[in-house]
Symmetry: C2
Subunit: 403 residues, 2 copies
């Protein structure tokens, strides 16, 4: 790289998606577990994953790359209908090259964003082997197919933070750089990050020790929040960032960043334009309301519980903006308002995504749209957002293809 | 007013709060209903409202004017401990004059933001009389105490949109300029604004016909949303604007503004800094997802229902930004990010609030803080935000006091 004029030809996308090919688990599970492990079958002419008593097709919304918006559909899609880049790491490279994507961090599809599928499994011994098989496949086969092009992000056995810590250690030794976690464990039936017994400490400590970034994808709570029971889907979709705003606020107030200074979190596919308001508001609430709110007394006339595990002293010296700067990374696909306010969020705290092959993807116009959206920013800032911040955060050295 | 140099000495606050004095209902209910109507009693040394089988004290958070942040408390407060401006419209004027508040739109406290208390009443005949008594008292005694200083906003019998329409017509004839409604009727056990039978049409039509602004205060769904069951109160408070974001999105997509072009809504105490992101995201979702989302098919792996009452055609010509410009007003207490992005929201669509006597209030520094926050804007834009937009929206001619 010429440091005087950083190359803006490429971007690193910190949020893309893999459609797992049929062989992932059958190739890697011990022979005795293969029959019970995820199998890929055609049932009544429709391809399905069969596992844990469930038959799960792939949604067309999860493999929409190359389709026109009018063709987007949540109905089941077959491998033969997908672009090969959806499931083949070598075919994906051609699509990445075409769109200026130098490197990509990919989330799982069938296991869901942070492996919720295996959390739900009745047979947890099998589920652990499935988690390990996915991670090995991801590191060795998907990322291994093109060194310097894929940032390895693993999933964990969410049902046991100590097992999760072991899996983090095991995979970190194999080159993992990030670990998927839930934006909100409560809807998954798991303790929250405010759990008084510090349930999640082993997992977060392992991530901090191994310098793995905790990536929380929007939807990783298995919930699409509904404004009301009658609110149309499209309105709830537009509202979706409220989940990520909640995740950001919870982590900033959680005390984890103070207790584990090495922790870094990425708010995957959460967008960034809402961050300035919610950061400012959090500071305002902390300033105005911390004395009474820390005492944990319920508000009159409100139904919701107002749990509390703070004392006023805990909150007295919290610098929310500094915690954000040091630990939190906003991730966006296309966010004009966010980029127009990048200085408020922090030029070192934002990374770009392309969301291939989902319906919000900018593919195949990723790099050209990025140049348009970033044009008002200095070249060094553009470089940070396009790739510099991701390289630093994930300790990842991309390898540029020969063109 | 000198049109060449608009006076920036005063602001109009479109969100303040009344602590109702003890006589409101006892003075105005028919004799036979007084015993069952809201009475104000001291029980075990603590002042309470007694009504409908409930005993309800006033929270110290609702009457915090003049207190230091360290003294804020949700514990019950007595009238003798409050600034008289909390409950006395003449005493309030002195506090308004001191802080540069030319005029004020006030929400009820004991009946709650849009009269939820009376909605919950078992005896709906009595409840209707209570709604009428409040509105008469508000218009005649509170606003009547100082013509040109208080913008009359009424409540309605929320349980019956036809009765609500009648009450709107009755009060409009007496000078009402605004009507309180719920940010989200679903948690109140009421049909939503997407109700297929068009449940709310009579109420909204009456408001549009009488040119009353529909004011939806944050919290008027009687809910403080919780990110998770263990999330501390202060974190949920910082997250609170997600309710108002939901309200804005629902109304923009609801079709009401097309069907009733005279409707105007104010997002009371919702703040504004989040508006640019959610407007942009709504446009993006509309563009990218409307074809499949309008078909109403559930997403795989999500628990929440994805109800739908749209066809792709309904959504084809929706101009969300224009609907916002023509019908929606953002209201803020102190919002640096919002004011730094006022051009994106719209200089004609934003109004200031002082939230007297609540804990987020800027009192007594209202006008000086406003000048500081608005300093980067041209004088004519400052004038709009301080008072011009409120004067136009509420058709209200304030009367400046002689100083």
């Amino acid at each position: 790289m010429d440091t005087a004029a950083p190359s803006l030809d490429w971007l690193i996308s910190v949020d893309d998606h893999i459609i797992e090919p049929p062989n992932v688990w059958q190739d890697r599970l011990p022979a005795k577990l293969r029959e019970a492990g995820p199998r890929f079958l055609t049932i009544d002419g429709v391809e399905h994953w069969v596992y844990d008593g469930k038959t799960i097709p792939t949604s067309g919304l999860s493999a929409a790359a190359g389709r026109r918006k009018e063709e987007f559909s949540p109905l089941p899609i077959q491998f033969s209908e997908m672009r090969p880049g959806c499931y083949d790491p070598v075919a994906r490279l051609a699509d990445m090259d075409q769109a200026g994507i130098l490197a990509s961090l990919c989330f799982p599809s069938f296991p869901r964003f942070c492996g919720q599928l295996f959390l739900e499994s009745k047979d947890k011994e099998l589920a652990l082997k499935c988690v390990e098989a996915y991670n090995d496949w991801l590191i060795e086969e998907w990322c291994g197919a093109a060194p310097g092009r894929y940032i390895p992000m693993i999933i964990t056995p969410l049902w046991d933070p100590r097992l999760a810590a072991k899996e983090i250690e095991r995979c970190a030794a194999k080159g993992a750089r990030a670990v998927a976690f839930s934006e909100n464990p409560a809807p998954l039936g798991l303790p929250t990050i405010f759990d008084p017994s510090r349930h999640w400490d082993p997992l977060f400590e392992a991530a901090a020790d191994a310098e793995l970034v905790i990536c929380m994808h929007v939807g990783s709570s298995s919930q699409l929040p509904a404004i009301s029971p009658e609110t149309p889907a499209i309105v709830n979709l537009a509202w979706g960032a409220v989940r990520t705003a909640g995740t950001m606020l919870e982590w900033l107030f959680s005390g984890y960043f103070k207790r584990m200074p090495g922790l870094k979190i990425a708010l995957s596919e959460g967008n960034i334009g809402w961050i300035p308001y919610f950061l400012e508001r959090a500071e305002q609430v902390l300033e105005n309301q911390r004395h009474w709110a820390a005492r944990g007394i319920a508000l009159d006339g409100y139904e919701a519980s107002v749990a509390n595990n703070f004392t006023p002293d805990d909150l007295a010296d919290v610098n929310l903006r500094q915690l954000f700067r040091d630990h939190v990374y906003g991730c966006f696909i296309d966010d004009i308002h966010g980029l127009n306010n990048l200085d408020v969020i922090g030029v070192d705290n934002v990374m770009i995504e392309t969301d291939y092959p989902h319906t919000d993807s900018t593919w195949p116009n990723c790099i050209s749209l990025a140049h348009k959206r970033l044009a008002h920013l200095p070249a060094d800032v553009q470089y940070k957002v396009l790739r510099g911040n991701a390289e630093r955060l994930y300790r990842f050295q991309p390898v540029e293809p020969v063109r």
